[in-house]
């Protein structure tokens, strides 16, 4: 079962956590792997905390429950960080990715990370404002995830995602380009500690 990569997305309603999880699953599936992508449906509304999940694997996936032992935790909104509980269950060699302008080393303590766990930050909100025109941080966070996760070769996944955005936003050139620019900038700007 070690071949399964589990991802848990934390965000607020409207930030695109579910869309990101579904898009990631579609892209990784397109590359020939087995995937799951699903949100935790609560009484969702704009601004309320939401979670979404991915399982990505070389083998068929049978588990049908929330991700409680993630390899990767993605935090779309830094105000959700109230302490280590947001990374609960994170694998000993797991990765945390935070939408934040701060230096990643500053977050290690508040997240209570162990020696083998790594944290990365990227100012996804700023990138989103500058590329998409609105603070919807899911696509830059996706870019950062592609860069640091090692799920698959970055170039391959980036190319598939480009095609998928083309299909999804057919005829809306500026939307596709804005999103791709957001992904590419985050790939460049993500910092680790």
């Amino acid at each position: 079962m070690s071949t399964v990569t589990e991802v848990r997305w934390h965000g607020r309603g409207g930030q695109g956590a579910k869309t990101a999880a579904v898009l990631l699953a579609e892209a990784v599936s397109e590359a020939g792997k087995f995937v799951q992508g699903f949100p935790e449906y609560g009484p969702e509304r704009m601004g309320a905390p939401v979670a979404a999940f991915n399982r990505l694997s070389d083998e068929p996936i049978h588990l049908h429950c929330h991700v409680s032992t993630p390899n990767i935790v993605v935090i779309l909104d830094p105000t959700l960080i109230k302490g280590p509980q947001i990374v609960e269950g994170l694998a000993d060699d797991g990765v945390v990715l935070v939408n934040s302008p701060r230096d990643p080393s500053e977050l290690r303590e508040v997240l209570g990370l162990g020696g083998g766990q790594r944290v990365f930050t990227v100012d996804a909100s700023r990138i989103a404002r500058e590329t998409i025109g609105r603070d919807i941080p899911n696509m830059p966070m996706m870019g950062a995830l592609l860069a640091v996760s090692g799920i698959m070769p970055l170039e391959e996944l980036r190319a598939i995602m480009g095609q998928q955005l083309e299909t999804k936003f057919k005829g809306k050139r500026e939307v596709v380009e804005g999103n791709l620019k957001a992904i590419d900038r985050a790939i460049q700007e993500v910092q680790g500690a």
């Binding site: 079962m1 579904v22 699953a25 579609e26 599936s29 397109e30 087995f34 995937v35 799951q36 992508g37 699903f38 949100p39 449906y41 068929p60 996936i61 049978h62 588990l63 049908h64 429950c65 929330h66 409680s68």
Partner: protein, 402 residues
């Protein structure tokens, strides 16, 4: 998980949600009539299908009605008139269909309905449990349960053939777990349109209301003189569905490489303890069985696919050799004697000289998440019962705050 035989299928591997998979299967079947009313978490199915209609991808007569009672009533009318009909619903929508469920079955109308399992109110809840379809277990509908999107898709295609078989002529529910499957994107293999069309064929009813050459009456008053005989015939049709379900599964298996039966016995050959589950929890239980096997526990899983007709004898054959069995019910029957699956499975074992200790775990009500650790706890309960030689708590609630 279905057994996949390499090299047979001409399918295409895709990633879809359970609801998308169901809507695609409906599109490929292209029924004559779909009448439906949206309800969470079934809504996507109706929404996608209405897009297929609007975009001219199907020629189905799509009836938007004002309630689920009307949706199924419209299907009853259209099916009686000789049309191939489908609908879909969840929870309170199914409850509102109640009286019409019995009418559809009693008139022997082969309607196919996707039931996206959701808890019945109240308190109001939109998430998964099986209180909706389990309540309809005695309505005369055949019930197929689906572990994942693949099985929901495959079951829906097989449901058409089972329902319309001249020896059966009963409506079929295809159940899948709300949100857990309906809204989760996962991989499945879908068939080419022409393969689906060839598999389901054209519906040619023997008796239909609009057949002016052979006029018939359907649904007239049927009192002390004949009602009983008609119910007896309905029960016989349900019994005749048993070989038909097997034949249709065998043909589907030859065409796709995916094998289905009344249930799947996973690592049961030498199992000492096992859980019995249906729908998505069976997948999580399979993961736990593998984990326990690596630790030397002789664990097994029995995944029930067909609850109506209930495979009493075959189940008893598969279960009698166990030392202990836990039946997982995602519905609280409120009988104080255990959930609906438990009482029937335990009854199936009654006549056996050799039978396992049995216990019932009611779980996951209202969408409460059930992970591998909780299912491992069920196996702990089983192993403890084997050790003591008795079951101290025959019925318990798993994962509930005490």
């Amino acid at each position: 998980m279905t057994q996949v035989q390499a090299g047979v299928s001409q399918g295409r591997r895709v990633a879809l949600t359970g609801n998308e998979a169901v809507a695609l299967a409906m599109k490929q079947v292209e029924p004559d009539v779909v009448a439906a009313y949206p309800i969470t978490p079934q809504t996507d199915i109706v929404q996608y299908f209405s897009s297929f209609v609007a975009d001219g991808q199907v020629r189905t007569e799509f009836m938007t009605v004002e309630s689920e009672h009307s949706a199924l009533s419209a299907c009853v009318g259209a099916s009686a008139a000789g049309a191939r009909c489908m609908t879909a619903t969840s929870a309170n929508g199914l409850a509102l269909m109640w009286e019409v469920l019995y009418i559809a079955a009693g008139l022997r109308l082969p309607i196919v309905m996707a039931v996206v399992n959701r808890a019945l109110s109240g308190p109001i809840n939109i998430h998964c449990d099986h209180s909706d379809s389990m309540g309809a277990r005695d309505s005369g509908w055949i019930q197929l349960y689906s572990e994942d999107a693949q099985e929901a898709y495959d079951n829906l295609l097989q449901a058409v053939r089972i329902a319309e078989h001249p020896e059966v002529l009963l409506p079929v529910m295809v159940c899948l777990d709300g949100f857990i499957i309906s809204h989760s994107l996962e991989n499945l293999e879908v068939l080419p349109d022409e393969q689906v069309r060839a598999f389901v064929g054209t519906y040619r009813p023997d008796v239909w209301l609009l057949d002016a050459a052979r006029p018939v009456t359907m649904g007239p008053l049927d009192l002390q003189d004949f009602y009983f005989e008609h119910k007896r015939q309905e029960a016989e049709a349900m019994a005749r569905a048993v070989p038909v379900i097997e034949e249709v599964a065998a043909e589907f298996g030859r065409a796709t490489g995916r094998r289905y039966g009344f249930f799947e016995a996973y690592r049961m050959d030498d199992a000492e303890v096992a859980v019995l589950a249906l729908n998505s929890t069976a997948g999580t239980a399979r993961y736990v069985v593998d984990r326990l096997r690596r630790r030397g526990v002789r664990a097994g899983l029995l995944k029930l696919r067909v609850f109506r007709p209930f495979p009493q004898r075959a189940l008893a054959d598969a279960l009698e050799g166990l030392a202990a069995l836990a039946v997982m019910d995602r519905a609280e029957g409120l009988s104080t004697a255990g959930g609906p699956v438990f009482v029937e499975v335990r009854s199936a074992l009654y006549d056996r000289a050799r039978r396992p200790l049995t216990m019932n775990h009611i779980y996951g009500l209202g969408g409460r998440d059930v992970g591998p650790d909780q299912i491992e706890k069920v196996f702990d309960d089983l192993l403890q019962a084997v050790e003591c030689g008795e079951v101290r708590r025959p019925v318990s609630h798993l994962g509930v705050r005490e």
